[in-house]
Symmetry: C2
Subunit: 557 residues, 2 copies
Amino acid sequence: MSDIEIAQQAQMRPIIDLAGDRLGIPAQHLDPYGHYKAKLSLDYIRSLNDRPDGKLILVTAISPTPAGEGKTTTTVGLGDALNRIGKKAIMCLREPSLGPCFGVKGGAAGGGYAQVVPMEDINLHFTGDFHAIGVAHNLLAAMIDNHITHGNELHIDPRRVQWKRVVDMNDRALRKIVIGMGGPGNGYAREDGFDIVVASEVMAILCLASGIEDLKERLGRIVIGYKADGKTPIYARDLKAHGAMAALLKDAIKPNLVQTLENNLAIIHGGPFANIAHGCNTVMATKTALKLADYVVTEAGFGADLGAEKFIDIKCRMAGLEPAAVVLVATLRALKFHGGVKKEDLNQENLAALETGFANLEKHVRNIQTHYHLPCVVSINHFTFDTEAEIELLRRKCESLGVKVVLAQHWAHGGAGAEDLAHAVADIVDNAPGRHQFVYDGGLSLCEKIEAVATKIYGAGSVSYEGKVREQLNAWNAEYGQFPVCMAKTQMSFSTDATVRGAPTGHNIHIREVRLASGAGFVVAIAGDMMTMPGLPKIPAAEHIDVDGNGRISGLF
Amino acid sequence: MSDIEIAQQAQMRPIIDLAGDRLGIPAQHLDPYGHYKAKLSLDYIRSLNDRPDGKLILVTAISPTPAGEGKTTTTVGLGDALNRIGKKAIMCLREPSLGPCFGVKGGAAGGGYAQVVPMEDINLHFTGDFHAIGVAHNLLAAMIDNHITHGNELHIDPRRVQWKRVVDMNDRALRKIVIGMGGPGNGYAREDGFDIVVASEVMAILCLASGIEDLKERLGRIVIGYKADGKTPIYARDLKAHGAMAALLKDAIKPNLVQTLENNLAIIHGGPFANIAHGCNTVMATKTALKLADYVVTEAGFGADLGAEKFIDIKCRMAGLEPAAVVLVATLRALKFHGGVKKEDLNQENLAALETGFANLEKHVRNIQTHYHLPCVVSINHFTFDTEAEIELLRRKCESLGVKVVLAQHWAHGGAGAEDLAHAVADIVDNAPGRHQFVYDGGLSLCEKIEAVATKIYGAGSVSYEGKVREQLNAWNAEYGQFPVCMAKTQMSFSTDATVRGAPTGHNIHIREVRLASGAGFVVAIAGDMMTMPGLPKIPAAEHIDVDGNGRISGLF
């Protein structure tokens, strides 16, 4: 059965009842969106302040491959399994972006028997959070050009406007555009472009905000561009846009509650890009979940070099979070891919390639142990064509690293398939939880922070900077030196070359461009070409998506 | 108190309880969106099929003036008043567009003590319908350029793509743009533009669709552009976009239930532009309301020459609706304006100007009586500076037309202020309901239809056509001859010159451009410049909109 068919057969419980029975949340503190989705009220979240926190478990992965590793399914499967073995666990996930559902990627609500439901709603509009983010972003954009048109009292240099527009659609034709054409009534012509909504700084801000006041403050701090000197920033607050933007986000800031196929609760909230942003669900969601459950399972974007690093150095640092353990997701197929095997040969046993490819997993494990200073379990998403010999080899290799490896079959069997993983994780969390370290100290300069991540986490030998990038970073040190850095590079490799598999060392990381996300509170360092507006493939998934007269959707995957 | 302050003091009842108590709707057939908004399930709507229909009352107005007439407040006030005098009444309204809330116009959920609530939600994202429409529209746009990029098998002429993009924001800089710049990876450069979401044909389609199947069929029929011959249309179904578009609209098609300040039920659903589209709430909403109540009060856009004409010739014709009576809203201020008084002098008594300006009201009443063949009540939205002499003059003039005039004070007093109006309307509906006529027969040619509206309703003496427009209309007669025409002209005047007040006659209506809305099922005839993307004023309302730490919004009006 396809994911959507499994999801549509789920026996969902009304979310208000489920939240009441399992978490004791009073109905008036839940804003329902249909019968199976609800938002938690801000009052209720505040009322939890004095409760103790549960334990936070981060699910991350080896460097992703085209085959896919299954981080979200593992997060869901582990959460279901923890509940099965008698632990009170909640999952915290990112909201899927709507645009990619119509391209190649499909949805992002888990898969097989490890899914969150209602799958169609979560993948399409959900509770409207991303629409709200898109409109808030575009309001600021409209106010910028409107200000320029009506006399430009702030002296915004139209050539130096950095705030683009956004749409939640894979639409390559909007990447680079010229706006304001057609004569004086339409304003001043200038270059512009659209990003996909998840790439908006408003998304990153919403995900890091501690509440509405903090949200508004951060929105006001957004740098939309510069005056003609190229140095004097213009802020969103100068345009008086931040109040209305926050008003548009008054509901989007409330965490969303849904359930898994096994009727366990999950919070799905926020979903920033994992390259030019930090790639984690909202701070509000994670903090709320920690008050509501003893175990909170959450995920970070891409591999442990990107997602987990940002989770720790950006999200945990800003929010004061303390993860207790890390689950590193891998597949034998992906490890063989890192060992040099071609995509079409991955289903064949290949012990030599597995051993070579293990280097990728090993480097991630060492990073987690040494640099994040956290205990770790390796979870292998099991495929039917994995051989005994391969599994045995992997087990031995992991033992040599002092890390436990568990086979997980939640995709095929739901929570029951991930009980071993749940026991392994609970054992660490209950008996030997970690205390994380940051990869770099907040007091270092921006360049030193970039270099710390590059050398420690990526195994790089050097960092170089394009043109005036280093100068720009040094200039920012005065005002923004305390910001963490958000590294944007390919997720496919420890290097900046997506084709270099395994665990390269000694390579150079070239920082091509840096961007200030002063509302979010980080500096983005871009190594390589980052795509912030995807395109559709020749035959988009949209061609197969349909709905019948009763509103039942098909073809979404 | 401001509208938002009055709205925030409303004693709202939970919508599920209210709908259960008042209409007997079972809770499982209502999808809640928070505690005070809900969508009606399609199953429930189908289950009403065998019930008899209530009576439909259309609220329209004289030609609008900058002072504003108060059509929405009258619709709400009349509905509240009908309930007060013991009638079972529901109101059907259009959803406000989000963009204009940040400009000059403000919200559109009524005003004073005649409002629908929760006002902030209704004016901002509401239940996400407009966001869904925007994304469905933009999915088709992305699929068009994607198709061209990937080989253009359908031979779409990039110069003849007619499907623009949309955003729910007043953003003049997007009116005319060039897309696809930046090299081969971003596709082929071409001219394009953004309309505001309410101007999308998807909006018109949603508002006219009888259900999901009809919606999908109509979406598939959208003409996105032409081949190089300039004649062979390319449809959305050729791109296989209509299934996914309909899937995105599966919830948007369900009517939204809210309440008035007096806890009476209102359905707010859809909101197409009233110039390039037909300007009425959805057919689904109106038909559902007629099954649920004995009296359904609804509104149409602009004045009775535009909104009411389209209500009858487009909406009633397509949906088989039968209005029983019409309420024509006017103010003494607006009548004096039509009589030539300057905006700043409207609060002064001026009997001569009132008598002159009455010509506008008279022409609308005659149209309603003669051409729509419906009984009519004139409702005067009362202002404190209206004088006794003015009111008396108006009363005499109306009597001479054989039409009842009623003073309504719902803005100040809620339903209690509109009881006279309610009695007058109920008297007609109960004792002498009308049977409408169309302005033109469906079998006439497109040009004949345009000419019928122009001469009968606008009092024009002639119709002329720009360049090849008549040729185009004649060419469309073969395939689309059965379509009604959707006239797009200024709402400020019976003529195409916004400054000509009163009731001009013998003028020429020049059709500058025609557009085929083949999914919606009408041909748009444009006389004058129609703005489908508004701009923001020098000081946008957004600057004053704010939200506090508890999510309470201020500054929205």
